[in-house]
């Protein structure tokens, strides 16, 4: 098997350069590449364009890259509560492109499937449609949206082997598999790195062909954004 293992996050991201476009997996703070983000902060790479569903919170996730002014542009569907993000956006330091969540996911998928563009009805008749080609199929309008191009995709998986095969856990899967398929170079950090043969081929979510570098992550914080619980006596489904 081809060995994709690198020693750590710093080695994995060694050739990410100023001005590169990155994809970062995760939904909110769930399933984000914590180790790679920390390494990027250490390296100080700047003028980055980040494609990610969200932009982290003030002191975690992509919020850490924003705080150290390493991000030139965010391409996201929802940027949530992030005071530093808001400040940089209003002062003009940060560019933001907001796109529908399904469009974001599918533009990643298209890249991974080798398709230059997709048609989606999301955003027809809204400001998202401005300047885009529209085409009618069977009486309904669709927007043409291009596949993303990203220099690097940074993803987080639960388990992986040194051949680059990945398995995700629960809803931390989210954007990770489609972004893993879409990067020119895909870097995967995993909670548990094993040898080829230890993962059942039938259980692989992302085949190793899509992954260029893999490393055993460490000290995962896995911060929870909205801790919602119920008491044993509670009958309500939600709060």
């Amino acid at each position: 098997m081809i060995n994709k293992q690198v020693s750590d996050a710093d080695e994995a991201i060694r050739d990410i350069k100023d001005g590169n476009t990155l994809m970062l997996g995760g939904f909110g703070l769930c399933g984000i590449p914590e180790n790679c983000i920390a390494a990027l902060v250490r390296k100080g790479t700047s003028q980055l364009t980040c494609i990610s569903n969200n932009a982290g919170v003030d002191d975690f996730g992509i919020g850490l890259l924003l705080k150290s002014r390493q991000v030139k542009k965010m391409i996201s569907s929802y940027v949530g509560e992030n005071a530093e993000f808001e400040r940089q956006l209003l002062s003009g330091e940060l560019e933001v492109e907001l796109i529908p969540q399904g469009t974001l996911a599918t533009r990643c998928m298209a890249a991974g499937y080798g398709m230059p563009a997709i048609y989606t009805p999301a955003g027809v008749g809204t400001e998202v449609a401005e300047g885009k080609e529209t085409r009618n199929f069977n009486g309904k309008d669709y927007l043409m949206e291009y596949a993303f191009e990203a220099d690097f995709a940074l993803v987080k998986a639960w388990k992986g082997d040194t051949a680059g095969n990945l398995i995700f856990r629960s809803t931390s899967r989210n954007f990770n598999p489609v972004m893993a398929m879409a990067g020119k170079i895909t870097i995967a950090e995993v909670e548990e790195l094993v040898q080829p043969g230890e993962l059942d081929p039938d259980h692989i979510h992302t085949p190793g062909v899509y992954v260029h570098r893999i490393f055993q992550g460490k000290e995962y914080e896995k911060r929870i954004e909205q801790r919602t619980v119920r008491s044993k006596s509670e009958t309500n489904y939600v709060g």
Partner: protein, 219 residues
């Protein structure tokens, strides 16, 4: 007049056995509390889960298991997990039977605005544009009038649009309304204690209302 739990309770009556349902953030989330016992439905969370269960018991929270509102949740027997592209694939290909979401404004043509207020910090549309553009059956949970008493059911939306000609049914604190194919709202039910006249007064879009409109049954 209904409170937000009342709106959720009324919307829950639209759910049928065997439905796959996507619930938006806010009032739509509360609908889960009013699904009749014995009815089998599956909740979709667009971050990649079918079969969303209730909040976990304290101490059992799993940071890898959240809903689209980033809240900790649980799975149920029969749940499935998938990636974001597949999640919106099932939305686009209309496998989800019912979508319930909030709105700031709805027009008499069925246009919806719920993601952006000019001059205010924009947080983003999330999955709302994908949902409204594709879903075959959308119910909007919204306030009929704002704090100043102004109608949010309008001839034309004033805020940036989320989707066009996509809304068919609306439940507000005052009423249940359909959006007619040719345009205009049709009053279907009124909230307990609310008069048809008050609903007329509170709806700036074209409203079709019979003199005698039945009161909602919330039980």
């Amino acid at each position: 007049m209904l409170d937000k739990n009342g709106i959720a309770r009324r919307i829950a009556k639209e759910i049928r056995d065997g439905y796959y349902v996507n619930l938006g953030i806010g009032i739509p989330t509360l609908v889960a509390n009013y699904i009749p016992e014995g009815m089998n439905i599956v909740l979709q969370s667009e971050n990649g889960l079918l079969g969303m269960g209730p909040f976990p018991y304290e101490g059992e929270e799993d940071p890898d298991l959240i809903n689209a509102g980033k809240q900790t949740i649980t799975t149920l027997p029969g749940s499935s997990i998938f990636d974001s592209a597949m999640s919106f694939g099932m939305i686009r290909s209309q496998k989800i039977d019912l979508t319930i979401l909030g709105a700031m404004e709805v027009s008499e043509q069925g246009d919806i605005a719920n993601w952006k207020i000019p001059g205010k910090m924009v947080k983003g549309m999330g999955g709302a544009m994908d949902l409204v553009a594709s879903a075959k059956n959308i119910i909007v949970a919204m306030q009929h009038i704002n704090k100043a008493g102004e109608s949010k059911l309008l001839p034309k939306c004033t805020l940036p649009l989320t989707g066009v000609k996509c809304i068919r049914k609306i439940v507000t604190e005052l009423a249940v309304l359909d959006v007619l194919d040719g345009g205009g709202f049709r009053l279907i039910e009124r909230a307990p204690g609310v008069s048809v006249d008050f609903i007329k007064q509170s709806t700036s879009g074209k409203l079709f209302a019979e003199a005698d409109v039945k009161e909602m049954d919330l039980n």
